[in-house]
């Protein structure tokens, strides 16, 4: 079974046949073609397929394992199959699932399903989605495996408490003080796009920290960066048209989409209208920025082309790996054939430049490590960008060990990344950090703590019980 990181919950799409471009006007509440098309477009904007279609599988038939910090959550079959899908869902059931995270049988969904965002969808849009899923998606009568999170997370009922604390999404009402474009952008970002699922840091209970909305968060082995207009940490240095281009292609000179953002662009953003992408950009550009950030200078403004070939060339591979030039030697052997010896990439950006590149200029090395270990796979329009992985995959170009990756990453950071006034890199990647990313990213301590908490609870209950029994006995005396 394929695993995808939790980040995947991002907005991407159903990839139905080419869709008519739709405006944001309310749809008629009947299942005419316009409503169906609108539902299909919304399903694309909501990237339902990112989780609910397994690679090579039937559309929306589920089965994909979504790696979460708490364990694998298996996406369900949401085709209109009456036996294994949502074919028996009434529209009210469907609304409840999207708005409240509750299945038709009354059980709670895990918030891997971003109902906290979909709760912002308008009545008309949810109706259109319902029409699309019932009439526009082919039923697939095959079951998916049950999600089996470790105890106590297997107790879905616990989500009721979580929802009480953290879920209050309401359909968004337009802010009359703002432009129509801003309002449309907010709707797409906060609603179907569910950008916050990845880009907003999560708190102790895996809830999104609304006070730090979209300021960047760890998502599996990747880091979904700050997308607020902060000039240093966010996208404040990008022009409006660059932001739109990035959403449509995943590719700028200074930034490239990988991991689940590549999938979001592949499945969702590239299929949205230019107006909608512009609206998303407009909304992001007006977001509040984080109050504090360790990013002093723009992520996209570090380093210059250069190489260290003269320090080892001609000595032989083993010698090159044994001395101070190890990072440069690893770069030459594994990276330079595409990114060029001096890191300048290619003019068309198919092979990105490595200097003045957000991955290298970041104060967080997660994406640098993840790119090396997992590569890049992004198919947009007729361009398929593919960087092979360097982890343990069968098609790994070269299976680099943790130490190799750390040394290579440190070479890249020193040459192309953020440095202090003395030219020293401010980041040092360790082999342990590489191992953590190799294992899929940091794990949540929540399970352990919950188990301890439950254990304590059981002890407390037992003591309480004893105390009660003794009291009764005492009374009998």
């Amino acid at each position: 079974m394929t695993r995808r990181p939790f980040t995947r919950l991002l907005a991407t799409a159903c990839l139905a046949a080419p869709l008519p471009l739709l405006a944001a006007a309310p749809a008629a509440l009947d299942s005419d073609n316009e409503t169906l098309a609108r539902g299909a477009y919304l399903a694309t904007a909501s990237d339902c397929t990112a989780c609910h279609t397994a690679p090579g599988g039937q559309p929306m038939a589920g089965g994909l394992e979504i790696a979460s910090p708490l364990g694998a959550i298996i996406a369900t079959n949401i085709t209109p199959s009456k036996s294994h899908g949502i074919g028996d869902y009434s529209e009210a059931d469907f609304v409840r699932a999207l708005r409240e995270g509750i299945r038709a049988d009354g059980a709670n969904l895990y918030p891997a399903m971003p109902y906290t965002a979909y709760g912002h969808l308008s009545d008309a849009d949810i109706h259109a989605l319902y029409v699309y899923f019932m009439e526009g998606v082919a039923p697939v009568d095959t079951p998916t495996a049950e999600t089996a999170l470790p105890f106590p997370m297997n107790l879905r009922v616990a989500m009721k408490g979580w929802n009480l604390l953290f879920h209050d999404a309401e359909p968004l009402e337009d802010d009359p003080e703002r432009s129509a474009e801003w309002n449309r952008g907010r709707y797409l970002v906060e609603g179907p796009g569910h950008c916050s699922s990845c880009h907003t840091p999560r708190g102790f209970f895996m809830q999104e920290r609304d006070d730090q909305a979209l300021t960047g968060a760890q998502v599996g082995p990747w880091y979904a960066p700050d997308i607020t207009p902060d000039v240093a940490a966010g996208i404040g240095s990008w022009r409006h048209d660059e932001l739109v281009t990035y959403l449509r292609t995943g590719k700028l000179d200074q930034a490239q989409a990988a991991g689940s953002m590549a999938e979001a662009i592949e499945h969702s953003f590239q299929h949205l209208t230019e107006d909608d992408l512009g609206a998303i950009a407009t909304y992001l550009e007006a977001l509040p920025t984080a109050e504090s950030s360790s990013q002093a200078r723009s992520r996209f403004d570090h380093g210059e082309p250069g190489d260290e070939l003269a320090s080892f060339r001609g000595d032989g591979y083993a010698a090159g790996l044994s001395g101070d030039s190890r990072g440069a030697q690893l770069y030459s052997a594994n990276c330079s054939s595409c990114h060029q010896a001096d890191g300048s990439g290619t003019d068309d950006g198919y092979y990105p430049r490595l200097y003045q590149n957000g991955v290298l200029g970041d104060v967080n090395a997660t994406n640098l490590i993840a790119t090396i270990l997992y590569g890049v796979d992004r198919e947009v329009g007729d361009e398929h960008v593919f960087m092979p992985p360097f982890g343990e995959q069968p098609n790994a170009f070269n299976a680099l060990n943790n130490d190799d990756v750390a040394v290579l990453a440190n070479y890249l950071l020193a040459r192309f990344g953020e440095t202090d006034d003395d030219g020293h890199p401010i980041l040092q990647v360790s082999a342990d950090e590489v191992q953590e990313i190799r294992e899929g990213g940091p794990r949540s301590p929540l399970i352990l703590l919950a188990r301890i908490g439950l254990g304590v609870g059981v002890v407390v209950l037992a003591l309480l019980g004893l105390w009660l029994i003794r009291r009764r006995k005492a009374r009998r005396r």
Partner: protein, 540 residues
């Protein structure tokens, strides 16, 4: 952990043929154990070996693959191959996990129907025991497996007939020099310079490998794995359950009752002997190391060597004898953009003249010329800026034109075991070789006259002609296929006539060479053999 010593199928050799057979068997549910004489080395290391070489050694494909003492392969200036005869069978191949596709150019011309019927049509050589249409589906499988890019235009097909399945990828674009060459050939000589079908990812990733980015480094190694080489499959095979033992030098094949193969013995780098057993065996070590192993394994049942009751093992050694011309032109061609071989003129390989002499395939190599012309520029005595300009001029204005010929099978062109021994004490291969009058006549009356006309059409102001045939490193023959056990070694499925559970797929089986590079036909034969072997293993 102890190494497994048995499997359903034991395969000796991890080159493209062994790897393709292995994957077919694994996919059919059979266990596979592979023996590789040489080391298993990362692409990164080979890439850096190449980059660290002095310029003078970069022209030799094997220099980036230093042999291990226990797995020698021919190196420039060494005597691993003991050569005798009018022409030197001075081949290049490597004994490394992944085999010699590490340094192939990826050129994948199919045979034509006529290439497989030389005897019937022209009264020379041998016919294949099946026709082109029998081979066609296996060619399609080979093209899918290796990721061959090629043209869809019906006018640009080789062989010139409708394809039964499209190439998995479109052709790579021509460099400016190739476009010019194509135009000049059509206008001046009426020849069509075809986009070569090649094992290279063209504008897209394929097989979980990246797209070609034009390093022009295909020989000796694709630095990014955009060119298929068998090393790219090794991890995948292991993920499917294969056991691959490297540094395991097979040196004896053991027979048992019914002359069935029982085991293969191998030596490790400590010269310790090991024995692996299986139900079926595949020897896929190329057309030099395979017959060497068969001959070394002579026993009381097979005094002439394994599979050799016909006395044909080691005979009919073949290649594509080539003649290369270096032209100096009065205007630049600027070669070196894209892969090292990207086009060719194939029509000159066909015709009724084949009753009298060999055909030839002409290509303009697309190797960047720096590595050759720098030395010529230095020889002029120029220094400083004048030297730089001389290098630039020569790199831009020189081209290499190659005529690759077919050769007929000849029992006298023969590999035997030398009395000289290698590091492990195993005999070195000895090869007597004569390209023969059929091919020589082509050079005299056909191919070189055409080559001169090509040079003239291109505006050559200076033509350097070769003094002797060079080898193409396309090892063929030695375990030739036929329908008569008295005159051939393997049947139409590359199964040894003498041993029902022994398969010898690859170039060794080819009864004719034609002029185009042999790998794609070797792989088609591997698929055919794998199909027969899978059926046989299922029934066993």
């Amino acid at each position: 952990m102890t190494q497994p010593t048995s499997a359903d199928v034991v395969i000796v050799g991890t080159g493209v043929v062994g790897v393709v057979v292995a994957e077919q068997l694994l996919d059919a549910g059979h266990s596979v154990l592979m023996l590789e004489a040489g080391p298993r080395v990362s692409r990164a290391e080979i890439v850096e070996n190449y980059r660290n070489l002095p310029l003078g050694l970069k022209g030799s494909a094997s220099s980036s693959y230093p042999p291990k003492p226990w797995a020698p392969h021919p190196m420039p200036g060494d005597d691993y191959l003991q050569l005798e005869g009018p022409d030197a069978y001075a081949q290049t191949y490597i004994r490394y996990a992944g085999g010699s596709t590490w340094h192939w150019a990826g050129t994948s011309w199919r045979l034509t129907p006529e290439d497989m019927r030389l005897n019937s049509l022209y009264g020379v050589g041998r016919d294949w025991v099946f026709d082109y249409d029998t081979l066609d589906p296996y060619y399609n499988m080979a093209e899918q497996k290796l990721g061959i890019c090629g043209p869809s235009d019906p006018a640009l097909q080789w062989p010139p007939r409708p394809r039964s399945a499209p190439y998995p990828m479109p052709p790579l674009p021509f460099s400016p020099g190739e476009e010019k060459f194509t135009r000049v050939m059509k206008e001046a000589l009426g020849y069509t310079n075809l986009p070569v079908s090649q094992a290279r990812n063209s504008g897209m990733p394929f097989d979980d490998r990246p797209a070609c980015c034009g390093n022009n480094n295909c020989v000796p190694v694709c630095p990014i794995g955009a060119k298929y080489d068998a090393a790219t499959a090794l991890n995948r095979l292991e993920a499917k359950g294969a056991v691959i033992l490297s540094n395991a030098v097979a040196h004896r094949i053991e027979t048992g009752d019914g002359n069935r193969i029982e085991a293969v013995h191998y030596l490790d780098p400590e010269r310790q002997e090991h024995r692996v057993t299986g139900k079926h065996f595949v020897i896929a070590c190329n057309a030099i190391e395979t017959p060497k192993l068969l001959l070394m394994s002579a026993d009381s049942r097979n005094p002439g060597g394994i599979a050799n009751s016909s006395d044909q093992v080691g005979r009919n050694m073949m290649d594509h004898p080539q003649l290369g011309l270096t032209l100096t032109l009065d205007e630049p061609y600027w070669l070196g953009q894209g892969p090292v071989v990207n086009s060719g003129i194939m029509e000159t390989s066909q015709g009724d003249f084949r009753a009298d002499h060999a055909g030839a395939y002409f290509r303009m190599n697309n190797f960047a010329r720096n590595r050759y012309e720098t030395f010529n520029a230095l020889a002029t005595g120029k220094v400083g800026r004048a030297l730089d300009e001389e290098i630039r001029r020569r790199v831009a204005c020189t081209v290499s034109i190659v005529a690759a010929h077919e050769i007929l099978p000849d029992a006298n062109n023969r590999l035997t075991l030398s009395a000289k021994k290698d590091w492990l004490g195993l005999p070195k291969p000895h090869v007597y070789y004569d390209v023969g009058d059929y091919t020589r006549r082509s050079a005299e009356t056909y191919s070189m006259p055409i080559a001169r006309r090509i040079a003239e059409a291109m505006g050559a102001v200076e033509v350097k002609e070769p003094s002797a045939f060079a080898q193409s490193k396309h090892l063929m023959g030695s375990t030739i296929m036929g329908d008569d056990p008295a005159t051939s070694v393997v049947d139409s499925d590359c199964r040894a006539f003498d041993h029902p559970n022994l398969f010898l797929p690859g170039g060794g089986a080819m009864p004719s060479t034609a002029c185009g590079n042999s790998t794609i036909t070797m792989v088609a034969l591997a698929f055919k053999a794998a199909e027969a072997l899978t059926d046989q293993a299922r029934g066993a």
